[in-house]
């Protein structure tokens, strides 16, 4: 039981790091990696809870999250490459044609 609780704490820390990275980093690739970190924190939490409840469905969820994250990554990388080609920069602050 102890191990599951520790994993949940670790996943919360990883998720928090992902959020911090998303908010403060300026490079698109790094922001993208922060999102991946958040999704993997979710996976860790699911596995830990799955162990805690002795229920395998938590591990099946992880498969779905992994597959969906991969599909999202493919589309995201395509968008980023498009931006890099058109702008020659990967700094989010330069992506500012539309005012926020």
């Amino acid at each position: 039981m102890d191990l599951a609780a520790d994993c949940v704490v670790l996943s919360a820390i990883l998720f928090g790091l992902g959020v911090v990275g998303f908010v403060f980093k300026r490079n698109i690739i790094t922001i993208f990696m922060s999102i991946e970190l958040m999704l993997n924190a979710v996976n860790l939490a699911f596995v830990a809870f799955s162990r805690q409840w002795h229920d395998l469905s938590g591990q099946v969820f992880v498969f779905f999250v992994i597959v969906v994250a991969a599909a999202e990554a493919a589309v995201g990388m395509a968008i980023i490459v498009l931006i890099a080609r058109n702008r020659h920069s990967l700094n989010v602050e330069r992506v500012n044609l539309l005012k926020l």
Binding site: F63, V67, A78, V81
Partner: protein, 127 residues
């Protein structure tokens, strides 16, 4: 977290520390004791005796990225085959092949994506 759980890792920790000390000692000894006479020839990158041309860190072609992404996609989709294989007998009670056909449908959908890629020339390296 129990103390015994952590103490299992003690040998590993000692090993890491020992490795760091030995490596650090050797490196600092060579810095302290050795002679140093730098020259232009010496600081150049070694390319089999030929003069180096250009930077080693060239940007990768976008083609690599495309192939990598396609690989990731099809590779990760295959993840569903593992749990499916594990419960294959339960999915096909008696002589029915329902579970088999369901997975076949999944593969056919992936195949449709593959055909699309192929015909659109995404797998054509020279384009």
């Amino acid at each position: 977290m129990s103390p015994s759980y952590l103490s299992d890792y003690a040998p590993l920790l000692i090993h890491i520390l020992a490795a760091m000390i030995v490596a650090g000692a050797l490196l600092s000894l060579s810095v302290l004791v050795g002679y140093r006479r730098p020259s232009r020839e010496k600081s150049e990158a070694y390319e089999c005796g030929i003069h180096p041309t250009g930077d080693a860190r060239e940007p990768f072609s976008v083609k690599f990225y495309l192939v990598a992404i396609l690989f990731i996609l099809f590779d990760v989709e295959a993840i569903f085959l593992y749990p499916w294989a594990y419960v294959f007998r339960d999915l096909n009670p008696g002589k029915s092949l329902a579970g088999f056909y369901e997975m076949l449908l999944y593969i056919v959908i992936l195949l449709a994506g593959y055909i699309y890629l192929w015909r659109k020339g995404a797998l054509d390296w020279n384009r």
